[in-house]
Amino acid sequence: MFKGKSMLFWGILVIVIALILIVTLVQKRTSDSQVRIGSVPILTGEYKSYGEQFRDGALLAIKEINASDQGKKAELIVYDSEGNKDLALEKLKALKERDKIKFIADIMGSGIALNAMPYVNQNKMLVISGVNTGPEFTANGGPYFFRIIPSDGVASQQLAKWALELGYKNAAIVHATDVWGTGLETVLEKTYTDLGGKLVLIKDSDQKQTIFKPIVSELIEKNPDVIFLILYPREAGLFLKEAQKQGLKSRFMGTDNFTGSELAQMGGDAVTGVMFVLPSTEKDKSEKYTRFLSLYQKTYNTTKEPTLFNLMAYDCVQLLAKVIKDSKGDVEKAREILTTINYDGITGKISFDKNHDVVVKDYARKIFTYNKERKLYEPVDFSK
């Protein structure tokens, strides 16, 4: 009996000591870093390459801040949303309540982030996004959401304008069924028809759907000049392969969904001639970019150029770090600073309009061609 009580006593003591240690360590972790930023990218599943690009860019920003700013330690806490909006919200709550973090460098995925916006705004967490392009954020992002990547509303204008400049007066749209796909389809449909274009077919395609045979046959019959392909790279690559097989002659256009190497990996030579627009990052002219490129290639031991999401993530974190320091960690002050900021990032000058959308300067026009030296299909400037 005594032995049992003794064991119980020691057991409780061990648990209490362990709890004290955990609480102490957590408090130490909290107090050590002056710039603490959270991030909820997608790091699991078929779209994890986007999340990895973002995380890699964000970590480089943290590395650079810590290397240059003695005594001001920066920390990035990354939680994987697995592409699930409910899980993303849970992770966001964990960042707020457990990690005591109020500054967020992206909640990846337009649908996932929109679902989290009521919590973000209610709890006054400041989010800067570098990947969410859904047009809904312009009206529904709320006071604490800013983004440094232009809305699809702007991308659709660029795309529609370019298509009509090339004489593509009849078009079709094939779009993903998620928030990003339907959002972009809605604004593109309106913009293209408002500018005088005619849409001959609009088809949706579920993200997990890889059967494109019926849609391609229908498109051959409708014979549009151009097809706006609002699909994720894997599905878009497979669509292009099927289009090539059936002999579809229309041209293809897209937006920043075609950045990265996945489209060419899936589509092979069928990606030749595919055109897309993406925000111009002015990277060739910037000293900051040259420094970033060197750090990126050295850190990740690669000769590849960083992707758009690497760059966006870096700017998101650097911008957050700046406003955290300038506001001394006060969310309201940080928000005020952001509304009037004119920040010089590696993606160019960053300032925000009244809806907290980035003020857009320019868009780049790209086309996929075969690079004989590198023996791969990659996008080059359209003018070239």
């Binding site: 599943g45 849609i215 497979l238």
Partner: protein, 287 residues
Amino acid sequence: MMNEQIIHGIIIGSTIAFIAIGYALVYSVLKFINFAHGEVMMIGAYLCYIFTQVFQIESFLNAMLLTVVFTGIIGVIIEKVAYKPLRLKGRLSMLLSSLGVSIVLQAFVSIIFGSSPLVYNIKETAFPLFGYQFYPRELVLIFLLITSFFAVSIALKRSRVGLAIRAISSNPTRTTMLGIPTDRIISIIFFISSSLAAMAGISLAVESGLTPSMGFQYSIWAFAVAVIAGLGSIRGIFIGGILFGIVVTFSILYGSSLFADAIALSIMTLILLVKPQGLFPQKWREF
């Protein structure tokens, strides 16, 4: 355009039927649904990737043959480890075990290869036949489906193994008492069903790339076809698979891709409400 869409449906349906044969073969003997069948198909696709990309086997045909044999062996091992010890515990135990195997196989592949899509890096060239652009792979798949259908049907009716399978299907306890090697016959069944799944998996991977979840949608459809056919009917699967492929094609064409699954599976439910034993009458069945 209508003819083209029907051919699309036949091609899609052939893949579905190929997978469904595996469900039916296992069900015919052990009377349980092997929910890991889709993942065995995925394992087959990844094995072929290992042979072609890691071991650099130049001939894709040789890599395919090796894959078919190895996937068959993996199917037999899965049966020995995960199902055989549970045979006397009832069908529900084996069914739950198959769900476990399915999760383990998917997790295993995700850990090794990650979840980003992979491709075989082979270039297919389509050619016209009857006004339709075929990949050779698609014709081979249709040919193999027809061959498998006849081979399985004839083997079940004429060969000693087929006779044994039918006997086990009717009364497994009695056949063991009569000295029929039940374990060996079940191994043969798993070898054949896993090999057929590997062929379907390779074809799907060439078309859509490889992901750990690549087997999910098709295996759900194949399961639906096997049920519509009346679990165990090879002939029913052949016809049901093709019809199902055509229904999926027209669902995408005239509706939304979001409804393709819903429409196709609603038809399955309707058929089962009207004919609970499946679409094809008892006299059509081989077992």
